[in-house]
């Protein structure tokens, strides 16, 4: 009531108006969401300024998981640094390994064998599927749907089985390494992987029926947290968060590395199917469609792997000497563009390593988007941006 009066009389003070018309004074409340909170996906802390259920402002605070990854990078050789990259985006370790390896290879001019490139594509894409599965499941969890989360993890377990059979690890792989991959794929890998893809592909339709097109889910996510294309580019968003705004931009197409130009795949973008373009649902659905495309790429790569014998690793990958030069290299990771800046000084140990985590840049838009929404929309928006705090804080 006070608000309507104020609209007609902007010269009045809010409290005076409330006193005059007998409305009750309300107070704003600061609420601390995190660092320990179920829906902040790790140790993100957001300070919310709220008025009842309305969130007026959200200020993210990060750094709770800062592990000096860049400082460590200045103290170890690149080959030793690979395990640290695993721990940045711990849901897509393969992509992190790949980004750092490609950056070092670009700096030193190391040749990667053909077979290794195909294996890299397979594992990067499989890890993209695994990462998007977690993202999708956790997003359902944020919306209060428990079951898709378990389904997503059931499927992800199979991918992790394949990874474990190949490199012995289920989360921190260090499999893709400088000059290739640490080991060749195990026997029967191609068959089992194909079997898995045959099993997995129909499941995507199942997720769509269960979650994506669920009426409640759509009501919760469509028209929430809208990011326009201009805004997304201005804030440096990348990956599914950028493509959800309708920007058909993918580094796998723009600067194909690892031979991505030899594969046939589409770039799914948000189309505003359920609401306005660039809302949470669009960002979520881009991930679902990307899983489908990754399946396509892996299928082609498996065919190619069968016909590509040879080395899986360059011999001198372990002991590269970095020239007195610098490089900034970005790849399309699961969450967006993962970049490494490396400055060499002629020795084996980099002078400076800087990681540009996609989650870090994507999260920085929070302040801009989480505004004048309901409390329940905060997890919806944060979840749709899909951050991994290990990468944000490094």
């Amino acid at each position: 009531m006070a608000d309507t009066v104020l609209e007609s009389r902007p010269d009045l003070n809010l409290d005076v108006v409330r006193d005059e018309i007998g409305d009750v004074r309300t107070e704003e409340m600061l609420v601390n969401m995190g660092p320990q909170h179920p829906s902040t996906h790790g140790v993100l802390r957001i300070v919310l300024r709220t008025d009842g259920e309305m969130v007026l402002e959200a200020v993210p605070h990060i750094g709770y998981l800062h592990r000096c990854a860049e400082k460590i990078g200045e103290n170890v050789a690149p080959y030793q640094y690979i395990p640290y990259t695993d721990r940045m985006d711990y849901l897509a370790g393969m992509n992190n390994n790949l980004a750092f390896s490609l950056a070092i290879e670009a700096l030193t001019g190391l040749e990667v064998p053909k077979r290794a490139q195909v294996i890299r594509v397979i594992f990067a894409e499989m890890n993209r599927i695994a990462s998007h599965l977690v993202s999708m499941g956790a997003y359902g969890l944020d919306m209060g749907a428990f079951t898709p989360f378990l389904y997503a993890f059931r499927e992800r377990e199979r991918i992790l089985d394949l990874f474990e059979a190949s490199c012995g690890a289920r989360l921190t792989y260090s499999y893709i390494t400088i000059g290739g991959v640490t080991d060749d794929v195990p026997e029967r890998f191609i068959d089992v992987c194909r079997e898995y893809l045959d099993y997995f592909e129909p499941k995507i339709a199942e997720y769509n029926n269960l979650l994506s097109f669920n009426h409640i889910f759509v009501k919760r996510t469509a028209n929430v947290g809208i990011i326009s294309a201009e805004k997304a580019i201005n804030w440096g968003l990348s990956g599914p968060s950028l493509r959800g705004s309708g920007v058909k931009w993918d580094l796998r197409k723009v600067h194909p590395d690892c031979g991505y130009d030899e594969y046939d795949f589409d770039i799914p973008v948000g189309q505003g199917l359920k609401g306005q373009l660039g809302d949470c649902w669009d960002r979520y659905f881009v991930r679902i469609q990307e899983m489908q495309q990754s399946v396509r790429i892996v299928r082609q790569a498996l065919d190619k792997l069968a016909g590509t014998p040879g080395e899986y690793k360059h011999k001198s990958g372990k002991s590269v000497k970095l020239p007195k030069d610098e490089i900034y290299y970005e790849i399309e990771g699961a969450r967006g563009q993962l970049g490494f800046f490396i400055q060499g000084d002629g020795s084996q140990i980099p002078y400076r390593v800087k990681a540009r985590g996609p989650s870090y840049c994507n999260l920085s838009i929070t302040n801009e988007v989480v505004k004048d929404c309901l409390l329940a929309d905060v997890p919806a928006i944060i979840g749709s941006i899909d951050v991994v705090m290990g990468e944000v804080d490094r």
Binding site: N75, N234, G236, K253, V269, E330, Y360
Partner: protein, 188 residues
């Protein structure tokens, strides 16, 4: 436009900005003096030919031997789709290195041009110590006016990625000495 062309264009537009181009590097870049950086940045952002609308990353590097701190900006210029497949493409890529003296590392903030600069500048201040002036999220304290820290706690002293950084022996009662009595990494 190639990076060579951009460098020539910039030299032409800003003859006294001390613009140098390092094209032989694997990371070809343009060097700009900090006092001219703001005008150059506005030009890069708004010039209809260049339109570098996407700030990918800001990296801070401590070149201790040159007594300089560098803020390295990497840009993309996105091109709306012309082809039928609707794929966006890169009109151009650019890296700019702003070299600031180590004893007074002041660089103008570009947050009003690229929203993405906000957190990157805060991080660069936090870890490398380049002070971005007029940053929208600035605080005043004993170290003067500077962007708010982002990864380290607000009361942290020093900038961990500077090459002469001494790790504190203790922080609020938390000891930071290893069992070997060593406070710096072996290779450092």
């Amino acid at each position: 436009m190639t990076i060579e062309g951009i460098a020539n264009l910039l030299k032409e537009k800003f003859p006294d900005a001390g613009i140098e181009a390092r094209l032989e590097s694997r990371h070809p870049h343009v060097i700009v003096k900090p006092e001219h950086w703001l005008t150059v940045a506005e030009f890069l952002r708004n010039d209809p030919q260049l339109k570098f609308d996407w700030l990918r990353c800001i990296t801070g590097v401590d070149y201790i031997e040159d007594k300089q701190l560098a803020a390295i900006y990497d840009f993309h210029s996105t091109q709306r789709p012309a082809q039928s497949d609707g794929l966006w493409s890169a009109r151009g890529e650019l890296s700019v290195k702003v070299l600031a003296p180590r004893d007074n590392p002041m660089v103008p903030s570009v947050c009003h041009l690229w929203g993405a600069a906000d957190w990157h500048e805060r991080e660069t201040y936090d870890l490398v110590g380049i002070n971005f002036q007029n940053h929208p999220d600035s605080v005043d304290d004993l170290n003067g006016r500077h962007p708010r820290r982002i990864l380290c706690p607000d009361d942290w002293q020093g900038h961990p990625l500077q090459k002469d950084y001494e790790f504190p022996l203790e922080y609020h009662g938390i000891p930071a000495v290893t069992e070997f009595g060593q406070t710096r990494p072996l290779h450092g």
